[in-house]
Symmetry: C2
Subunit: 349 residues, 2 copies
């Protein structure tokens, strides 16, 4: 098999050939159809965030593919590999919190991941892709279900957003654009906030009821405009569900300041920056901050079902490249040259 390995910080990935790995009883070998490039990969490769497994390591955790060896019940199945693979046997798993299982394994972090021809994974939580979804999308595109779609799915579900609710998505990039679509499925009114007109227009095309470019607005003005939009859309002035998907300090500050009575702010994007907040506002508003990590594999079939029903769209939001161009793609991603999620497709044959 072949893999493009990260050998050291900021260095070009190296193509390495190796024998197929030995499989344990609970594992299968998946021939990779596609693997998405996530901000987390860039953090490992460029920003010095440490992978749990030492280098060299194959990055990539948004993987779809076909089982080609191991447990015979899984043979030839087309699958999505969840980005979080819990143990399924611990207190947190039994308590419906498998996404934060303390024994969880993540491809491209705890073990060799998806920028390769094959990947060895435990099969317990693989998500089989039904034929009706494969009729709509080639398997390689479904790689983005792992993380880019499933993470905002869990987020919206945890928030309790309902039909008569008001969702505010801050940052409608690679994750946020699915946040908009998923929020919309609930029947709620959805407002997209971003600093890019391009991204906002895409959000509008994918279901946002209103968009607002906040590039030159301070928090007070934004808040006033958001109140006006909520009113125009006929939603209530409280119980807002705010989703911070930009992963920036400015986004978190805005989100916190948009909180009102009985509302919540979900922290989805990650930044190392701290910010100054009055936590007691949460008490006065009876409001919540909801941190959410990945997505439990148990929810993946629900996401796939939404794809089958055409309630979530992928095609115009992703772009495929040959995996052999990985070094170029990573540099371009770092330089913000892509508006769409990049999927790397193995080209070893």
């Amino acid at each position: 098999m072949y893999a493009w390995k990260m050998t050291e910080l900021n260095a070009d990935f190296e193509l390495i050939e190796s024998p197929f790995p030995a499989l344990n009883d609970d594992e299968v070998l998946v021939k990779i159809a596609g693997c998405g490039v996530c901000h987390t990969d860039i953090s490992f490769w460029h920003y010095g965030v440490k992978t749990k497994h030492e280098l060299p390591l194959t990055l990539g955790h948004e993987i779809s593919g076909k089982v080609v060896a191991g447990n015979h019940e899984w043979m030839n199945k087309k699958v999505i590999i969840p980005a979080v693979l819990p143990c399924g046997r611990c207190v947190l798993c039994y308590d419906n919190r498998s996404n934060i299982c303390q024994n969880q394994l993540m491809p491209g972090n705890d073990f060799d991941g998806g920028f390769a021809s094959h990947v060895k994974v435990p099969y317990k939580y693989l998500c089989p892709v039904p034929e009706e979804v494969l009729d709509k999308y080639p398997l390689k595109l479904l790689s983005v279900v792992a993380d880019a779609i499933s993470t905002p799915y869990q987020v919206v579900k945890k928030s309790g957003l309902k039909e008569d609710g008001f969702a505010i998505v801050i940052g409608v990039g690679g994750i946020g654009i699915y946040g908009v679509q998923i929020a919309k499925i609930t029947g709620a009114k959805v407002l997209a906030l971003d600093i890019s007109d391009d991204k906002l227009n895409t959000a509008k095309a994918y279901g946002a009821d209103a968009i607002l470019n906040i590039k030159d607005l301070d928090i007070r003005s934004t808040k006033k405009l958001v109140r006006g939009i909520a009113s125009e859309l006929g939603t209530l002035p409280f119980q807002w569900k705010i989703f911070e998907m930009s992963g920036t300090k400015a986004g978190q500050e805005l989100g916190f300041n948009l909180l009102t009575f009985a509302s919540s702010l979900s922290i989805v994007g990650f930044t190392l920056d701290k910010l100054e907040v009055r936590l007691s506002n949460l008490m006065a508003f009876d409001a919540q901050l909801i941190g959410t990590w990945g997505c439990k594999p148990e929810l993946y079939p629900e996401v796939v079902d939404l794809l089958a029903q055409d309630k979530i769209q992928i095609d115009q939001l992703v772009e495929t490249f040959p995996l052999s161009k990985i070094n170029e793609i990573f540099h371009n991603t770092l330089d913000h040259k892509y508006n769409k999620r990049s999927i790397l497709v193995p080209d070893f044959d």
Copy 2:
């Protein structure tokens, strides 16, 4: 009737005599048995927090008493008056969030409250006190159910604390001491943190499994000791339920830093101070911050039932004074001279 009215910031309360107020169809007149002195009253009287109703105003929102006029079905009933009186007809009330109802009324804030001989209130959400509880406690002492006991009750309930859980109560004063008792009822292990040995010893006597004086400890040392205590008590190193009941910046900072995987921090105490936090930790921990305001009246009967079952103790935690001493009591409370909750008992007869 008689009332001790706040006329201006920091001024002595003035005894005012007035005719009984006219009652609307949805209101009753309650002859007051006792009214607790809360930190919120001190904030109105001394710290310049504005009451919603203009001055002069009778403060006091922790009230018990007997219905003496109005709707005949309520006549002669002994009742606790919830500190938050929702409308019962709005979206938030129907959505099980009546404690943050936007039409809510609070005695001693929206209308004349409990430092008086009588109070006029809507009867819809009054909590009748059963005889079995009156056999245990004089009605005047039950005033502390409104707020001091009901608020931490709602908090613990919202946190989802369970039998095998670990509760950390930061600040075991007037509210926190009930937080400890209520957390203990769930069967969880309870750790009390405070800077007063006296308060910690009381917490120990009222059910805390462990106590820790954090007066001279930095956050890092506290965290290490808390981990050790969690281990000694045989609880898990994650899913901690942390309750900030001190209403201080230091308490909130400690609470935020004690967060770990799948845990939550409930913000119960109030402070105007801001603090600097890395909100993204919530994402990495899949953790929550839960702000909680008052207690919905629908939960009061559950609290009264716990008193009936002797699962919550009051007597050693309160001290009664004649209402005519209100000015002295407020000054002493401001100077932190009391370790127990003060209840003012009308002495106009």
